[in-house]
């Protein structure tokens, strides 16, 4: 399972990196989204994998090893929110750039 997850993270990253190296703004924004997915999963993976062990505890004494590591999950949540915000911002900036320069090239001109 670790291998599958790692593979997927790698593929997502590679696709994202390919996209952020493209010249069109929309490609860049999608690329960053893809890398965000990969990074979120990556952060999660730093707490190692546990299937069916959600960190939702009972009221008694807690056997920590029976639960998935909650901290990376909390970090991913923060990261999700922030990357959503940044995607929104980047989108609006690229719209503004497209409006003011007339092109959707990342450098504001159509030179390839």
């Amino acid at each position: 399972m670790e291998l599958v997850l790692a593979l997927g993270i790698g593929i997502l990253t590679a696709s994202g990196v390919w996209l952020i190296l493209r010249p069109r703004t929309f490609q860049v924004i999608l690329g960053l989204s893809l890398i965000s997915y990969a990074v979120n999963m990556f952060i999660y993976a730093m707490g190692r994998l546990k299937v069916d062990a959600p960190p939702i505890v009972g009221s008694g004494a807690v056997e920590a090893s029976r639960y998935d590591d909650p901290l990376p999950q909390a970090l991913v949540l923060t990261a999700i929110v922030i990357s959503f915000a940044m995607t929104a911002l980047l989108l609006v900036v690229l719209l503004a750039s497209r409006g003011i320069t007339g092109t959707d090239h990342v450098d504001g001109d159509d030179g390839e």
């Binding site: 399972m1 670790e2 599958v4 997927g8 997502l12 299937v51």
Partner: protein, 975 residues
């Protein structure tokens, strides 16, 4: 006078010019007299006080006083007054007085004269501080300050281009030298272990023996040579003649250019005496002497001639110092004083000529003697001193120079050739002195002048008279007049190595005298022969092409153009190379540790493959690849595929025990999709084909290939890292704490949520602030948004559909969309309350089960967006007044206030409190401040998400102030 009083006096003398400078700067622009008066008083007071201090130095003890400045680095402000500094300080102050008097009459009342005197006083203060420095770093400090103040003085008439460029050149050259000097003295300091001048002067042997000696020497010499206009840094000085003449008289005869000389003298005991010193300093001095003199001959500008002669005479002094014998050093100090007197007076005379004749061109000047006999006489005497005519002070030091040149110092060829070359230089010197006098004062009356010259006002002549008198008196009675002072200075400068010397006029018939006579005769003869040819010269023969300024400009422009080329080559303004570099660097640096230590996956037991998860996750990855493939030409397809990836990762999170993440990601995913689609409306429909009908250029293919490689490398790297980490055992550090305390101390079962709103609520506070900021930014930016011209109009679909409605009987515009949405709209309206309830549900249960303020907020805003999609902006806003900014403010304030409430109980910020309240019938209800905090999160998220989405959506209903040109009429009118 006690030492203490003397110290105070010394400080007073030093600070006086600076204070005066500030005072004068505050005067009104036109107050020439007041400015001159203050400046003169300051300088005079300084001179008098400095003279009063003479007894302190006369007995050889000197005076030292200091304040601590940067003690840890050995930098203190130390004023150190000894014979040498006294004489330099006197030069600075006394000639300062004369120059100020002269300048009062020289400067036009239309100039902002107070500024001039302010700069002059600041320069005077810097120069004083320089010579009085008892610390090498302090010396370098004030050294640069003299460069700066002289820059201001040279650029005083900044309306002239020549003044600006001259000032700049002088600044760049001397400041560069100053920086070298700084490093040089730092090296000396490192050798000695102190920057204190006394310590340094006592460590000559150590310094010369050090391996750092040569670099230090070279750096210090560069500093000295740039300041003293020595070859090859001499070129700035002639251009600095663009300064008002009093500035030239002051800076370029007596003070600033002498700073370099002062430095060489000051450090002579520790730096001189080596072969390197001899070779460098002597040859530079010699070259400067000859070159300067040669160039002076061919000058047509009076001040130019004086400038080159200054260079030449500075060369003489440098040469003397280079020879390295104590006697030569004595001669150097002596000539420094002499040169200051005759050159200052010559500059002033030149200024008077310029004033009266309206030109400084030697070719236009002639026979001025009859108009201004006194000035002419004074100038003649000074020029004679410059030429080395006996009975004048210049003669004495010149004799000493010749004597030292003839002395056999060492075996080098340079030493052998020295007497001859010096004599050649002196011949030139006589030649230009004679030319200066003869061309301006003798001959027929001038014809090319615009006005009739007069004798200058008496007060303007007075400074020249004083200086010329000094030339004569020193020249005739050296031992009585200058003797004691020189002696004190020489002792202070040379310390124990002070030689026996005599200041007599007559040393009998000697070789130096012979050479002197030869120089005088040949020089005069040469003038007689070549006078006419000289007047016709446009450039300096042999050196014509070596125009300093042109070379300086060329060097700078080469510097700038190569910098521009390098900037293009080493840098980039494009985004893609920057991102490429970032990825590459990150890959490379992450690879390094593995190259050294090797890569190995961990040994922890692997989790069994789960086919359901594996399938979905791989499909998600495939979506990513497909999305990347489609993103350029099929944006919508790419959005769809990327959504697929997002969904797959949600499922992954569910599977991997992270239901909170799944929920949040799912909700965010939805909003993001809507967002991207909102954006797509403003992007160009179809991309132009970059290479229509042609094959893609090889360079592009290559770049794509390399990008692919980079992408694969990055992906592989991240995957390898993730795999290696997942297969290692989890370090047991802080997570256990959260699991164990979540319920007992955080009051919640959902540990992730408790972390977010309690353990690490501070992160969440920051995170919602980010969201708030982004929303505000988006809103602000869109308030000034201008879409591209072709996007302003309604989308093509809408125009076609409206046109269709209009064209068909029984239809009204808008029917198509109305029919399209009628049924969905009803359903979506009924869905709205359900989403609201779900949002509330997610919010309330978040502390115990997956959910929470963020998820609830996003769900709520999706409900809102759905209504916007179904009913349109205007229609929704007619019924629903959303004020997102207020929501944002409320959210932030509630969250912050919840955290701050703890402060009232003297608990740290964000300390949580919870309590299970027993209510009859209902049972235990948890009351927790964390819930309040989460409420803030909820409000903010609703506000921010709504603000972003609505701000973008509103772009569609904006109306241009007037119809846009180029936009079609149908496009700008909205229903």
């Amino acid at each position: 006078m006690s030492i203490a009083t003397s110290s105070v006096t010394l400080w007073f003398v030093l600070l006086l010019p600076f204070v005066g400078s500030l005072a004068v700067a505050g005067l009104p622009t036109r107050s020439r007299d007041a400015a001159a008066l203050i400046a003169g008083a300051v300088a005079l007071a300084g001179t008098v006080l400095m003279a009063v201090l003479y007894p302190q130095v006369a007995n050889g003890t000197g005076l030292q006083t200091g304040v601590s400045w940067l003690p840890s680095l050995g930098l203190d402000i130390i004023l150190r007054l000894d014979g040498l500094t006294w004489i330099f300080a006197m030069l600075v102050l006394a000639i300062g007085v004369l120059v100020i008097v002269y300048a009062r009459y020289y400067m036009s009342p239309r100039d902002p004269v107070p500024r001039f005197f302010s700069f002059l006083l600041a320069f005077m203060g810097s120069m004083l501080a320089l010579v009085l420095s008892g610390n090498l770093v302090q010396l370098a400090f004030f050294w640069e300050l003299t460069s700066l103040t002289s820059f201001l003085l040279i650029g005083y008439w900044h309306q002239n281009e020549s003044a600006r460029s001259a000032a700049r050149m002088a600044l760049v050259v001397t400041a560069a030298g100053g920086l070298c000097l700084l490093v040089g003295v730092l090296l000396i300091g490192k050798i000695v272990g102190s920057y204190d001048l006394d310590t340094v002067l006592a460590s000559g042997d150590r310094i010369r023996a050090s391996s750092l000696y040569l670099p230090a020497l070279i750096l210090i010499l560069i500093g000295a040579f740039t300041k003293s206009a020595q070859f090859p840094f001499h070129f700035w000085l002639p251009h600095a003649m663009a300064a008002p003449t009093p500035v030239s008289a002051y800076l370029h005869s007596a003070t600033m250019v002498k700073a370099g000389i002062f430095l060489l003298i000051r450090l002579w005991p520790v730096l001189a005496g080596s072969e390197a010193w001899y070779l460098i300093v002597t040859s530079v001095g010699l070259i400067t002497l000859i070159l300067g003199a040669w160039a002076a001959i061919f000058q047509q500008d009076l001040k130019g001639l004086l400038a080159y002669s200054t260079i030449s005479h500075l060369g003489i002094i440098t040469l003397l110092l280079g020879i390295g014998s104590p006697l030569a050093a004595v001669a150097a100090i002596f000539h420094t004083i002499n040169h200051a007197t005759f050159k200052a007076s010559l500059f002033m005379a030149a200024g008077i000529i310029d004033h009266e004749a309206g030109t400084r061109d030697l070719r236009k000047l002639s026979g001025l003697y009859r108009f201004m006999p006194i000035t002419a006489t004074l100038a003649m005497v000074a020029a004679a001193a410059m030429a080395g005519v006996p009975l004048l002070n210049g003669f004495l030091s010149k004799e000493m120079l010749l004597a030292e040149a003839l002395e056999e110092t060492n075996e080098t060829l340079l030493d052998q050739a020295l007497p001859y070359l010096v004599t050649v230089g002196l011949i030139f010197s006589v030649l230009y002195s004679v030319r200066f006098i003869h061309q301006s004062f003798f001959g027929p009356p001038p014809t090319k002048l615009e006005r009739r010259p007069h004798e200058a006002p008496h007060w303007m002549r007075l400074p020249i008279e004083v200086l010329v008198l000094a030339c004569v008196v020193i020249g005739i009675l050296p031992a009585v007049t200058i003797g004691p002072f020189l002696d004190v200075a020489v002792r202070a400068a040379l310390g124990g190595g002070t030689p026996e010397y005599s200041l007599a006029i007559w040393h009998g018939f000697s070789k130096p005298l012979l050479l002197s006579v030869i120089a005088l005769v040949l020089g005069t003869a040469a003038y007689l022969v070549f006078a006419r040819a000289l007047n016709a010269a446009d450039a300096v023969p042999l050196l014509g092409r070596l125009r300093g300024r042109r070379m300086f400009d060329a060097v700078l422009s080469v510097l700038v153009s190569s910098a521009r080329w390098l900037e293009d080559w080493l840098g980039t303004r494009r985004l893609q190379p920057q991102l490429r570099l970032m990825v590459l660097v990150a890959c490379a640096v992450a690879l390094l540790p593995f190259l050294r230590h090797g890569y190995a996956p961990g040994t922890a037991p692997r989790t069994l493959i789960d086919p359901g998860f594996a399938l979905i996750w791989l499909i998600g990855s495939a979506c990513a690849v497909a999305g990347a493939w489609q993103a350029k030409y099929h944006r919508l397809a790419a959005v769809v595929l990327v959504s697929g990836t997002g969904l797959a990762s949600c499922i992954g999170f569910v599977w991997l025990s992270a239901p909170d993440l799944a929920l949040t990601q799912l909700l965010v995913e939805t909003v993001t999709t809507v967002l991207l689609l909102l954006g797509l409306r403003w992007l160009p429909k179809r991309l132009p084909d970059n290479w229509p009908g042609k094959r893609t250029p090889a360079s592009v293919v290559l770049r794509r290939g390399s990008d692919l490689l980079i992408a694969v490398a990055a992906g592989a790297g991240v995957a390898a890292l993730a795999y290696a980490m997942m297969t290692r055992p989890l370090p047991d550090a802080i997570s256990r704490f959260f699991l164990e305390r979540s319920y007992a101390e955080g009051g919640g079962r959902n540990v992730v949520n408790v972390i977010l709103v309690d353990f690490r609520a501070f992160d969440t506070l920051g995170e919602i602030t980010v969201l708030a900021i982004v929303a505000l930014t988006v809103f602000s930016l869109l308030r000034r948004f201008r879409p591209a011209r072709e996007s302003v109009r309604d989308p093509e679909q809408q125009r076609l559909q409206d046109a269709f409605d209009e064209a068909h009987a029984g239809r009204a515009p808008g029917d198509t969309v109305s029919d399209y949405l009628v049924v969905p709209r009803i359903i979506l309206e009924w869905v709205f309350p359900f989403i609201v309830v779900i949002a509330l549900y997610l919010f309330l249960r978040g502390h115990d089960l997956p959910g929470g303020g963020f998820a609830a907020g996003v769900a709520m805003s999706i409900a809102l967006i759905l209504q916007y999609m179904a009913a349109g902006t205007r229609s929704v806003e007619a019924r629903l007044r959303v004020r997102p900014t207020d929501w944002i403010a409320a959210g932030l304030l509630i969250a912050a206030a919840t955290g701050a409430a703890a402060l009232l109980f003297d608990h740290p910020f964000l300390t949580s409190w919870f309590h299970y309240l027993e209510v009859p019938l209902i049972g235990k209800i948890p009351l927790a401040t964390a819930l309040l905090f989460d409420l803030g999160v909820f409000l903010l998220v609703v506000g921010a998400t709504a603000l972003i989405l609505i701000a973008i959506a509103h772009q569609s209903i904006r109306r241009p102030v007037r119809p846009l040109r180029g936009g079609e009429e149908t496009g700008v009118e909205k229903r």
